[in-house]
């Protein structure tokens, strides 16, 4: 049991992250102060939330490229609601964000489920449609900090036990989805659908419906992140989180989630996101030009996928070994 834990992908990644933090700390000791690490985690929270959703989608052999656009559209809608009706309580805003995000995710899911269009095509299309819709509803105008109410902006910053709600949201999501993915029928069906869709049908699992729910969950998390993002950075505009979908996929890949489906865990998504978050935050701190960041995260993705492939490699049938044993 212990051996399995140590050799797991998650443990390896955890180790790499610790080494990385250690290396940064040599150059810049303040990096490992609790407050700074908490800050890094807080910054990484949106990535964590989206990576969890993306992980579930990838588990079912799909991919969701529309998450960043979904985030931008939800963010703009809630920001505009806040401007138009400043009295609406934050709870309602959050509910609207999750609901709207889920709706957009469900639309992706429906196209994949009912029309059987490949997920990459569906989300490539909805990605541009959602992003464009942000422009259409806002007329390209920004919603700026001074137009938002204090309550709207306060939620992600509100500190509980020394940590902002932004971080707590990510932590709660990690816990909830850990339980969902390990202990519920729906969660296990995602693994089954991605691992062997054919067998899943025989086990009474509707493949399309599972994929639909995966997209809906991913959308809901993107919607939630949309509100958090817009309120934290106190601005909503068309290009919010532009290109972020690839960071999210990258986090999943680094976290050991197999693009072929069926393999992955919430812990992996969490660590993959943290890995990217640490790199992003550490570079400016150790005085490496931010221009290096892109190349470093690119290399990390390639190395991660190479390592994963190595550990998953089919070693072929071992026929001889048993023969040797009996001799």
């Amino acid at each position: 049991m212990l051996k399995r834990l140590i050799t797991s992908r998650e443990a390896l990644l955890m180790l790499i992250i610790l080494v990385l933090i250690g290396l940064v700390a040599i150059r810049f000791p303040r990096f490992i102060t609790l407050s700074n690490l908490a800050g890094v985690f807080n910054d990484t929270s949106p990535l964590i939330l989206l990576a969890i959703g993306q992980m579930i989608v990838i588990l079912t052999k799909c991919i969701d490229l529309s998450v960043a656009a979904n985030l931008a559209l939800t963010g703009m809608v809630v920001a505009m609601i806040n401007v138009a009706a400043p009295g609406v309580p934050v709870v309602v805003i959050i509910a609207v964000a999750i609901g709207l995000g889920a709706l957009m995710g469900a639309f992706n899911g429906l196209l994949v489920w009912k029309l059987d269009i490949p997920p990459i095509v569906v989300t490539l299309g909805t990605m541009t449609i959602y992003r464009g819709t942000v422009f259409v509803i806002s007329n390209g105008k920004w919603v700026n900090s001074h137009e938002m109410t204090q309550a709207f902006k306060a939620f992600p910053r509100y500190e509980l036990f020394g940590m902002p709600m932004m971080s707590w949201t990510a932590i709660i999501a990690v816990i909830i989805f850990f339980i969902v993915m390990t202990r519920t029928t729906l969660g296990r069906s995602f693994y089954a659908v991605g691992g062997n869709p054919h067998a899943a049908t025989y086990a009474g699992i509707n493949v399309g419906r599972s994929q639909f729910w995966a997209f809906t969950i991913s959308g809901a998390l993107a919607g939630l992140t949309g509100y958090l993002w817009v309120s934290r950075y106190a601005v909503a505009y068309v290009n919010v989180a532009s290109g972020f979908e690839l960071d999210v996929v990258a986090a999943c890949v680094i976290g050991g989630i197999s693009i072929a489906g069926g393999i992955g865990s919430v812990g992996g998504a969490l660590l993959g996101a943290i890995f990217l978050g640490v790199i992003k935050n550490a570079l400016p701190v150790i005085n490496v030009s931010p221009f290096w960041q892109l190349a470093i995260s690119g290399s990390a993705i390639i190395i991660a996928v190479a390592l994963n492939a190595r550990s998953n490699k089919n070693h072929g049938r071992i026929i001889l070994k048993s023969a040797e044993k009996t001799q």
Binding site: I63, L65, L111, L115, D116, I117, P118, I120, V121, V122, L124, G125, T126, M127, T128, I129, R131, G132, T133, F135, V136, G140, V238, G243, L246, V249, A250, V253, I259, A260, S289, F291, W292, Q293, L294, A295, I296, S297, G298, S299, A300, I301, I302, V305, A306, A309, K313
Partner: protein, 328 residues
């Protein structure tokens, strides 16, 4: 096995019948419709110079789209194409700084593309990694190297004869780029539809194991396809750099998705196995016409992208919905 002589006909449907029912015909109808709609919507549309200018919106992307079409038909994908443009352009910029002339620049641009393509190809075919993930990685890596080299700087000062590739005209309104686009389209059409190599691409895309078991050198074919994609990115980098006259690391940002959209809109199955070059050519025109037509009405680019996105989903969904309602 001595049974009565049975003759199996070669075909039941003539090729013409097949064309009429094809995706390309549907797409061509869409293109014609957009063309007509555009000429009514804007008085500036039917002007030779304007239409010539409009081609620049898609020619460079389409050049890569042809190689990408082959790659996608073979069951792989390359998301790093735009980053290869950036890196190739950066390399050319560096060559300019080193005082080299146009012939060397072209070699550098093409060479960089080929090397990048080979890098992708090795990772995918030798190490057996999934191409979508590998190229998400190299997409960051290649552009990342450009950023490391250039940072906040730009390379400029390209020699004046270099400007021909992106700004030159062969005859009247016919630009060099457009002619190059047509030539490349024909070459790729022949490669895919008329050669053994193209047949192997289709076989691999339909069933890589079956192709391997039929004696096709699957990994070699895929490697060549990655090389070709890199090579085409090099050509596109030359044209784009020549057209812009400068290199920044952010050059061609986000093009990969537009190129893939073009390929998919052209009827290439994203899961591999089927597609055609004429389809991609028409898709390139459709996207170019939509962008240009809406541009004339001063519609912002992002709204055009809604149209493209809806078109992408719509043209794929429509036949399926139609089929569904018919069977019910």
């Amino acid at each position: 096995m001595k049974t009565t002589e049975r003759i199996i006909p070669d075909r039941l449907q003539s090729p013409i019948q097949r064309y009429l029912k094809s995706w390309e015909t549907l797409l061509l109808a869409v293109a014609v419709a957009i063309f007509i709609a555009n000429s009514f919507a804007s008085p500036y549309f039917l002007n030779a110079w304007n239409l010539s200018d409009a081609t620049f919106n898609f020619t460079e992307k389409a050049m890569i789209a042809f190689a990408m079409a082959l790659l996608i038909i073979s069951g792989e994908i390359d998301l790093s194409v735009a980053s290869m443009i950036a890196l190739a352009s950066t390399a050319m910029g560096a060559a300019v700084q080193a005082g080299f002339g146009t012939p060397v620049l072209i070699l550098v641009g093409l060479g960089t593309g080929v090397i990048c393509g080979a890098f992708n190809g090795i990772l995918v075919t030798r190490m057996g990694l999934p191409s979508i993930v590998v190229t998400i990685g190299t997409m960051s890596l290649f552009r990342g190297i450009s950023y490391i080299v250039l940072g906040d700087q730009a390379y400029r000062g390209y020699p004046s004869d270099f400007t021909f590739f992106g700004q030159g005209y062969i005859w009247w309104v016919i630009s060099f780029e457009f002619v190059l686009f047509l030539i490349i389209a024909i070459i790729y059409g022949i490669i895919l539809h008329k050669t053994n190599f193209g047949r192997a691409v289709f076989a691999i895309g339909n069933n890589p194991t079956g192709a391997l078991f039929s004696g096709i050198r699957v990994q070699r074919v895929k490697f060549i396809l990655f090389l070709l994609t890199g090579f085409m990115s090099g050509i596109a980098a030359i044209c784009l750099t020549s057209r812009l006259g400068s290199t920044r690391p952010s050059i061609a940002f986000g093009w990969e998705l537009e190129i893939i959209t073009m390929v998919v809109l052209g009827g290439v199955n994203i899961l591999g196995g089927s597609g055609s070059i004429p389809g991609v050519v028409i898709a390139a025109f459709v996207m170019g016409l939509v962008t240009f037509g809406l541009g004339l009405l001063n519609v912002p680019g992002i709204v055009m992208s809604i149209v493209i996105g809806a078109l992408l989903i719509g043209v794929i969904a429509m036949p399926r919905i139609w089929k569904m309602t018919r069977t019910n």
